[in-house]
Symmetry: C2
Subunit: 349 residues, 2 copies
């Protein structure tokens, strides 16, 4: 695993009124997958309960408390802003709690668009979305790495690419392979304790940032590098990020993440079929370096067991690829396809 | 034409030692296509000569002078930094000249990556690459515009997309059509006096910035909006910018810009064939809104007349599309194809 150079964190998660809400993605992601410990969740509407009441079957738990004072008794080092509010502006009460936490010596960790460092001058703030200085242009050094690189791509944005990537990484480690997860968005970065938000990078440098992340993961010479994808080739607002990440991270193979094929990407634009968009990802990748789609990761969270099985069978039939819901059952069929895929070479090399 | 709200500028172009060099792209572009007047070029190695000695057949001319003092006698309002040095750092002598110009009351106009405003506090500086505040995400409002929108795309970056776009716009105006050129890079912005550098925008907002530029051009209800393309779908460093611009500007049709097909895009990666990459642009566009490639604009500057004709014939044959070198001869065949192309609708609308 990457040595982040960062201290071990003990998190208090601020999720007031939100922890039971599905959109508390960063809070839930940290509790479920974080390398660092969550010692308390702050949500007065659930005070006295346990994390395991909301997120069962984790093998992890923590108390839910009503106040910062109660959380402080559990000796956190850091407070996570566990929600990205629509519009990006944090409620005033949250700002007051964060100020009190900062004055109690806690580091503030935030994945919001709104940068918090200027709001708390002199206090330790990790604005996860703030890109580092000096990101270089894409160099092509990524063509030369030894480990195999797999990237998740999607038929849409917000379709479970991070979760799929984390589940494949976990399955790989459980099977005895060394696997590095490469975080490219705010929740992934908080979970892993390193990485950067590629969508916050100036567009000329998205591919370079993606390449640097992958090179960082390659330093430990893992068996497998699993890069968290972003957006979708077919989402008009985010396709730039998607393509910069795809060309920049130099993958050897792709895992297509999909879900209900009948939903809309954007204002009436339907999700493209998995087979069609898989072929397009392959063709666009192959302008630089071939990267076949080797498996489909389906997010069937909204379906019942029968519907889930039917959709998995239908997509497997349509694409001819191993298809599984790694969250619902197991990422093993996807991992197997990734392990079998050969490394590829950039064309012209 | 767009009313930029900006004052008419009278430019002195600082291109010391560089004006005869092909890489003085911004200086040459401004002299050739600028809406504003160039009153002098500063290059002591060519002092006493004329712009027309270096760039004949322009129908425009200006003296080349050796010193800022001589340029000031011609009453410029602005001094353009007429070169983007490799590495991005401006030579010390240039900085001294710019300081003297600023002290003489001139506005400094720069398309460099390095921002100059902090170097000249209190002086008027237009850092062309500095994006404005508050660029929104892509909204889809661009799906609804009335005028036809054409975008140039390329088999490679730095292949003549801006020049092709400007020549098509000029040909359209000469034929009596109202045509707006939408500038998306530093030279285009200096030429047109408005626009923004989409590659300097945070990647999440590239599509939104592109959409806003196109909507701005649509305000005058021109017959035709011609959007300057950037990068290439097949260039690993710049494909993010390319795709954000393509989805964001909501084009009805594409003009493929190409040149010598035997050159490399990047470290051994060959340029894709025009037919192949044209099909890929169309397929990726069509995930959101169909935009057929209707013509090929060839840059044959490095070929002699016979070779140029042969390449044009070969590419026309390969692609089945009207093909011309608009700089060498005329953009008329390309314009005709654009005028014949229908407006398209976003899928799902």
């Amino acid at each position: 695993m990457i040595d982040t150079g960062a201290p071990e964190r003990r998190y208090a998660v601020l999720a007031e009124g939100w922890f039971a809400n599905r959109s508390a993605k960063t809070a839930h992601g940290l509790v479920r997958y974080g390398k660092d410990e969550v010692v308390a969740v702050m949500d007065s509407t659930l005070a006295g309960g346990r994390v395991a009441d909301i997120l069962p079957d984790l093998g992890r738990d923590a108390p839910i408390v009503g106040t910062l004072q109660e959380a402080l008794e559990l000796a956190p080092t850091s407070v996570l802003v566990g929600l990205a509010p629509a519009g990006g502006k944090l409620p005033e009460e949250w700002m007051e709690t964060l100020l009190a936490a900062a004055e109690a010596g806690l580091e503030i960790v935030s994945g919001l668009h709104q940068r918090l460092a200027p709001e708390f001058p002199g206090k330790p703030v990790w604005d996860v979305r703030e890109p580092p200085e000096g990101i270089p242009l894409f160099s092509g050094e990524g063509f030369e790495v030894g480990p195999k690189v797999a990237l998740t791509v999607g038929t849409d944005s917000a379709i479970g690419k991070m979760t799929a990537t984390l589940e494949i990484a976990r399955t790989a480690r459980e099977a005895g392979h060394s696997a590095e997860f490469v975080p490219t968005g705010q929740t992934g970065v908080v979970i892993a304790g390193w990485g950067l938000c590629v969508d916050a990078v100036v567009s000329d440098f998205v591919a370079g940032a993606s390449e640097q992340l992958m090179l960082e993961a390659a330093k430990t010479s893992p068996d497998l590098i699993l890069v968290e994808g972003q957006g979708s080739l077919g989402h008009p607002a985010y396709s730039a990020v998607t393509l910069g990440l795809m060309h920049g991270s130099c993958p050897d193979c792709l895992i297509l993440c999909s879900a209900d094929p009948h939903e809309e990407v954007f204002r009436g634009v339907p999700r493209p079929s998995p087979a069609r968009v898989a072929r397009l990802y392959e063709e666009v990748a192959s302008l630089i370096k071939p990267a076949p789609v080797v498996a489909v990761s389906l997010n069937t969270a909204r379906l019942d067991e029968n519907e889930s099985q039917e959709l998995i069978a239908a997509i497997a039939d349509e694409t001819g690829l191993p298809t599984a819901d790694p969250f619902r059952s197991s990422a093993a069929p996807i991992l197997e396809a990734v392990l079998e895929a050969p490394k590829t070479k950039a064309i012209g090399l």
